[in-house]
Structure formats: C-alpha cells, structure tokens
Subunit: 109 residues, 2 copies
DNA sequence: TCAACCTGTGAAAATCCTGTAAACGCCGGT
DNA sequence: ACCGGCGTTTACAGGATTTTCACAGGTTGA
C-alpha cells in the first residue's frame, strides 16, 4: 500500500500543501477538512502529478484491494474532493478527467 | 491485440512523443487531448513508420475485430487525428493517404 | 474527358461514461 | 436510543465518444 508512508509533504504552486504524515492538506496555510478517503485519494493523485491514473490504479492504492466490476467509488470521491478543493481554490481545476481511462492531477490548474 | 502493451514510448523528430503505456501523446511536451480510439490509431500508425497499412489492418489492430464491408471508421478517425495533429503541428503531414490501399505514417512530415 | 471508384468530413444517431445527489448502514459519542 | 459524520452503493441526468450515414470532392484509368 502506498498511502501510509513514503509520501513526502508537497507544496504545490505555493497555495496547496499536502502533508500525508500529518493527515493534512492545507490551502494557504488553512487545513482543508477532508475525510480519510478524500485525503488518501488526494495524496495518491498528487503523488503522481501530470500522470493519468486509471480508476483501478487509484482504487487499489487508496482502498487497498481490487475494485469490483462497475465500482464507482473513485468517481464519487473525486467529485467530493473537487467540491472541497473548488471551495478553497476556485479558479483552479486540479483534477482532470480522462474519459475512458481515469483522472490526472495537475498542480497548475 | 497490439495496443495495450508492447509499444515503447517513441520520440519523433523531437516534437511528437507517444507514450502508449501512459495513454498519452505529447507535442513539445504538451499532451494532446485524444480520445481512446484516436490514440490507439495513432499508436498503431506510429508503430509502423513509413509502412503503408491497409484499412483492414488498422481496423483489426485498433478495433480488435474484423471490419464489416464498407466500414469507414478508419477514415473517420484518420480525419479526426489529422485535425488534432494539424492543430498542434501545422506544417507537417504525418499521415499520408495511399489511394486504394490505406494510410502511412511518416515521422518527418 | 468521363464514368467509376475512393476519400474527407460534417452531422445525426446510438452507445458508453461521468458527475453527483441521495439512500442506506455502520459506528462512536452523548 | 438518537444524532451526526463517514463510507458505500445506487440511480439517473447530462456529457463525451463512437458509430453510422450522406454527400461533396478527389483520383484513377480507359
């Protein structure tokens, strides 16, 4: 599993900072209130900037098991994450959808 | 099937780079936004530079089945691919038509 | 040049995929 | 037991992609 350790804190464009070890994500120094799953998903996406990650890949990283056929959990959490990120950082689209494949995190909008 | 694996990333004349494993094609480092089919077609064509590939050959590689009589899918997608490549790389004609046969990918315009 | 055939491409139709609200169950705290 | 938050799952509307069709324009060879 890849979430619990091994991810260094990262500063993105000076506004979003992710500190996996501290279970925290900050925007302009203020902590976002993310649930565990939301944070895990954000950490995983942010650990692979600009790379298109498949749903399966995201699922196995975050949930630690194989998704069952037609599982939509990743989508649901991406949606919730976007909502929270969108509130703290309007104007930027950090998570991009790649139809038929998955999602991509882009630090710079 | 030949798309999903076995295609190493390739750099073409330094501007176009295709990374099948990552579901990506880049021009000058910027990702082209291609749909799955478009990308598969590009990958297939680019995997056989300078070789004239028949429509049937392209279809079976990309669609994974035999085209039905008079199917024009390959042409439609070649057209779409040309449009997108043409925007990112004007001045070069990467995909050449061979009347009565099929298409040929030529890395150097 | 002409007729027959082939290719390019816009657009409609069909299909597939994604966004997201909502329902539900499970705890932990009160 | 009740409440509130979280995770999971489902459902459905809307969006995106793929497929198919139609026709204009190009190409070939007699």
């Amino acid at each position: 599993m890849a979430i619990s350790s091994g991810h260094p804190p990262q500063q993105l464009d000076g506004r979003l900072e992710i500190r996996p070890e501290e279970h925290a994500a900050l925007v302009d120094g203020r902590p976002l209130s993310l649930t565990m799953r939301e944070l895990q998903l954000l950490v995983t996406l942010a650990a692979n900037p600009q790379r298109i990650m498949t749903r399966e890949e995201l699922f196995t990283e975050v949930w630690g098991s194989q998704p069952r056929r037609d599982d939509r959990s990743v989508d649901v959490y991406v949606s919730r994450l976007r909502a929270k990120l969108g509130e703290a950082l309007p104007e930027m689209r950090l998570i991009h959808t790649h139809n038929g494949i998955g999602y991509r995190f882009s630090p710079d909008g």
